[in-house]
């Protein structure tokens, strides 16, 4: 059952996440809650979804046990701030960030990892 109220598509299972990152070359997933540090990231992603056709944007609920696949990703070791934002390229983790990120910070990662 979907837990996040955003305009983005929510991934609900670990299986679904695996399928998505294998199906699409560039994927960004924001794993969080409906909280103050996460909402600005979802909002930025909603805007970017309209302009960046080379990237697929998703959310995943931090409180779902299915998101253990993200929490256990070695790229997230030491993360102590929501949301955990994941960038996947060709099925592999390309980058991850912890805590709130600005539009500029997200764009920088997208440009660097996925190209403009």
């Amino acid at each position: 059952m979907a837990m996040l109220q955003t305009g983005l598509q929510e991934i609900e299972t670990a299986e679904e996440l695996k399928n998505v990152i294998n199906e699409y070359e560039n994927v960004m997933v924001c794993c969080g809650r409906m909280g103050p540090m996460c909402i600005p990231v979802y909002e930025a992603m909603e805007e970017l979804e309209e302009e960046r056709e080379n990237v697929k944007f998703f959310t995943m609920a931090f409180d779902s046990p299915e998101s253990d696949i993200i929490k256990g990703d070695p790229a997230c070791a030491g993360f102590m701030g929501l949301p955990f934002t994941m960038y996947y390229k060709n099925g592999k983790t390309a980058h991850a960030t912890s805590s709130i990120q600005s539009m500029d910070q997200i764009k920088t990662v997208l440009d660097e990892k996925f190209g403009k």
């Binding site: 909280g35 993360f79 102590m80």
Partner: protein
């Protein structure tokens, strides 16, 4: 950029969205330009229990409803934009965005609000998300059984420090003065909590660690002595700064960078109004931002009617 909006609003927080609701409901064509996430500080607020007429809810919920109300009345909202240039002295005001787009309007309402003040000391950027946080409700659980510092001496710092003792084994409040600015009940609650310690008349000068935060450097402001204090987390609540840097020189401000307004929210520039946390005032709340936004909108509407009347008279009066 042919269209001239009646009202252009800078900022989509409580003040800007309220102004947008009023002007667009009054049939004035309205554009809101917003740099960050729509809702501003409201979306930083997990629980709002003091907004009259609404029982306990989230700031995100209030912000979403305000945004929907504004849009339903025809208000246009553009978020995640960056304004590079302001031209406010002429009767038709103009702004230029970083992406080159330009927008014009007969009236402008400045509602850029504020943002959390950061310490701007070495290590702050490096450990954001791996030890440094600005939101206890969001990240408190990551600090379960850990020792942390809370920096600040206002209501937020003391209330959040108490909340964080539900997770952390020890919370040390570091404050630059010998007394707190918080309400007495908040100070008392913190003082009575056995997990809270106080380091007064001191400030942080650096965050230290390899991959994770391992210590903070504390400076005793009385003696000048500095020492490393081992912690695994730091929460920073040291107040807010008005988002008015880019407006300097355009409208009059006080020394704190807050915009000076008249009771009708008029700034020093004709046709330019201001509202919300960015203006000179004592209490910064959603209710006060909403009230300012309302007054600014009604004043802007009056100004726009005057400008349009003048333009009409100019057309009708033979040269």
């Amino acid at each position: 950029m042919d269209e001239i909006f009646d009202v252009m609003i800078i900022g989509a927080g409580a003040a800007g969205l309220t102004a947008g609701i009023y002007t667009s409901r009054g049939k004035l064509s309205t554009l809101i330009l917003n740099e960050g996430a729509i809702g501003g500080q409201m979306v930083l607020t997990n629980e709002v229990a003091n907004y009259p007429g609404v029982e306990k809810t989230t700031g995100y919920h209030i912000a979403s409803v305000m945004k929907k109300q504004a849009k339903d009345f025809g208000c246009k909202i553009k978020s995640n934009i960056k304004i590079d240039e302001y031209h406010l002295t002429e009767p038709v005001k103009k702004v230029k965005l970083a992406d080159g787009r330009e927008f014009r309007a007969y009236s402008v309402i400045m509602a850029p609000g504020g943002r959390p003040r950061s310490l701007n000391i070495p290590g702050e950027d490096k450990f954001k998300g791996t030890g440094i946080s600005y939101c206890a409700t969001c990240d408190g659980e990551f600090f379960t059984d850990k020792e942390i510092v809370v920096v600040g001496g206002g209501n937020s710092a003391l209330e959040e420090a108490v909340a964080l003792t539900n997770f952390a084994t020890k919370v040390t409040i570091v404050h630059q003065f010998d007394h707190f600015q918080a309400f007495e009940h908040a100070v008392e609650e913190a003082r009575n909590n056995p997990r809270i310690e106080f380091v007064m008349e001191s400030s942080l000068t650096a965050f230290r660690g390899d991959q994770k935060l391992e210590a903070v450097t504390i400076k005793n402001l009385k003696t000048g002595e500095t020492y490393d204090y081992p912690v695994q987390g730091a929460f920073i609540f040291i107040g807010y700064l008005p988002n008015t840097e880019s407006l300097r020189g355009l409208v009059d401000m006080n020394s704190a960078g807050e915009i000076i307004v008249s009771p009708s929210m008029q700034t020093s520039e004709e046709g330019v109004f201001a509202a919300g946390d960015s203006i000179v005032k004592r209490y910064r709340q959603i209710t006060t931002a909403v009230a300012d936004g309302t007054i600014a909108a009604l004043s802007a509407a009056e100004h726009v009617a005057g400008v349009k009347k003048k333009l009409q008279e100019a057309v009708l009066t033979p040269a």
